[in-house]
C-alpha cells in the first residue's frame, strides 16, 4: 500500500489559537505552542508530531482564519 505523508504550514501571525484544528486532526499532529505567542498575543499552532501527518487537510477545512496550508506526497 502506498504510504502517504503530509505536512502542515501554519501562518503563525494569522493564527488566533482557537484550537479547532487541534481537535479536528485525526492523528494528533497539531498542538498549541504553550510558550511563544505571535504579535497579536495568541499562542499559535505548530506541528507537535510531524511524522504522524497524513495530509488529510481536516485542519485546513475547519480553520476559520485560513492560516493552514497542507501538503501531501505519496511515497
Amino acid at each position: 500500500m502506498a504510504k502517504i505523508k503530509g505536512a502542515v504550514v501554519v501562518n503563525e501571525e494569522r493564527c488566533k489559537g482557537c484550537e479547532l484544528c487541534v481537535v479536528a486532526c485525526p492523528s494528533d499532529v497539531l498542538a498549541l505552542n504553550g510558550k511563544d505567542v505571535n504579535n497579536k498575543g495568541y499562542h499559535f499552532v505548530y506541528m507537535k508530531n510531524p511524522d504522524n501527518c497524513i495530509g488529510c487537510a481536516s485542519c485546513g477545512y475547519v480553520c476559520p482564519d485560513g492560516c493552514i496550508a497542507v501538503y501531501k506526497v505519496k511515497l
Binding site: K5, K16, V62, P64, D65, V70, V73
Partner: protein
C-alpha cells in the same frame, strides 16, 4: 522523508482561498464566520465568477465582510440586504448577487425583506448565519435563541411565555413558492464543511439559472457570546442547536 521535501508547491492540497485577502479578520478566535467566508471565496473562484459577483454585507458581526473577500461588495442598512440584492440583480441580471446575513439581521429587523424577496422569487442567494445570539452587540437574545438559553438580556434563560419561541425562518421561507432551494448546513467538522460547500455551490448555480431565491442557513457557533471555548461551543451546538435546527435540505426543486 524530510519535511522540506514535502513542502513544495506541487504537493499542495489545501490553502487559503485565492479570493481571500491577507487582512486579519476581526472575528473572535474560532468563529464560524471565517469558515463560511472561505467557502464563499472558494465557490466563487471555482465558478470563475470573480468579476461578476456582488455581495451584500449586513449589519452585525459580518459587517466588515467586504474587507476579506476580493469581490465587489455593497453595505446594506440593518436587515435590508435582500432589498438591495433585489435591486442590484434586477438592474444587472448577468451578475451573481448574494447577501450575507446573521440572525439578528435576517430573522429580526429584516424578516419582512427576507420573506418578500423570497416570495418574489428573486434570483439571489441568501447566506444566513444562525448562531442564536446577537454576537456583535454583546450577546443579547435573538429571535433564534433557543428555549432556556442564557444570554445577556435573558440571564435566566429564554422563557417562551415572555419571549416567545425560537424562529425557524428557513422553514417559513421553504413554504414560499418563490424559493427553489432552502437548506441548513453547518461547518463544525471537515465533513460538514465539504457538504456545506456543495450546498453553497448549488445555491449560486440556481441564482444564475434563474430558478428563484436560494437560502443557505449555516447553524453556527458564537463562542464569545455563548461564553465557551470554540471546541465546547461546537459540542454544545451539536447537542442543542441541531435538535431545534436539524441539518439537511428543506426544499430542493
Amino acid at each position: 522523508m524530510d519535511i522540506n521535501e514535502i513542502i513544495k508547491p506541487e504537493n499542495l492540497v489545501y490553502d487559503k482561498p485565492r479570493l481571500m485577502n491577507d487582512n486579519p479578520m476581526h472575528y473572535c478566535p474560532g468563529c464560524s464566520h471565517g469558515v463560511i467566508h472561505k467557502l464563499i471565496a472558494e465557490v466563487i473562484d471555482e465558478m470563475g465568477m470573480e468579476e461578476k459577483t456582488i455581495g451584500i454585507a449586513p449589519v452585525g458581526c459580518a459587517v466588515f465582510a467586504y474587507n476579506y473577500i476580493d469581490i465587489d461588495w455593497e453595505e446594506a442598512a440593518h436587515g435590508r440586504a435582500p432589498a438591495i440584492a433585489t435591486a442590484i440583480k434586477r438592474l444587472n441580471p448577468e451578475k451573481m448577487v448574494f447577501t450575507y446575513q446573521g440572525d439578528g439581521d435576517l430573522a429580526a429587523i429584516g424578516t419582512a425583506e427576507t420573506i418578500h424577496a423570497c416570495n418574489r422569487g428573486e434570483n439571489i442567494v441568501i447566506v444566513f448565519v444562525n448562531n442564536a445570539i446577537y454576537g456583535m452587540t454583546g450577546g443579547q437574545m435573538a429571535p433564534t435563541t433557543l428555549e432556556g438559553m442564557v444570554t445577556a438580556t435573558c440571564p435566566y434563560g429564554r422563557d417562551v411565555e415572555l419571549n416567545g419561541y425560537p424562529l425557524k425562518i428557513s422553514n417559513l421561507v421553504a413554504q414560499l413558492d418563490g424559493t427553489c432551494y432552502v437548506t441548513r448546513q453547518s461547518v463544525h467538522t471537515a465533513a460538514a464543511v465539504k457538504k456545506a460547500k456543495k450546498a453553497l455551490r448549488q445555491a449560486f448555480e440556481n441564482s444564475m439559472n434563474k430558478k428563484g431565491a436560494s437560502l443557505v442557513e449555516f447553524v453556527s457557533t458564537c463562542n464569545s457570546g455563548w461564553k465557551m471555548s470554540p471546541d465546547a461551543a461546537n459540542k454544545w451546538m451539536e447537542e442543542h442547536m441541531f435538535a431545534k435546527y436539524p441539518l439537511g435540505d428543506l426544499k430542493n426543486v
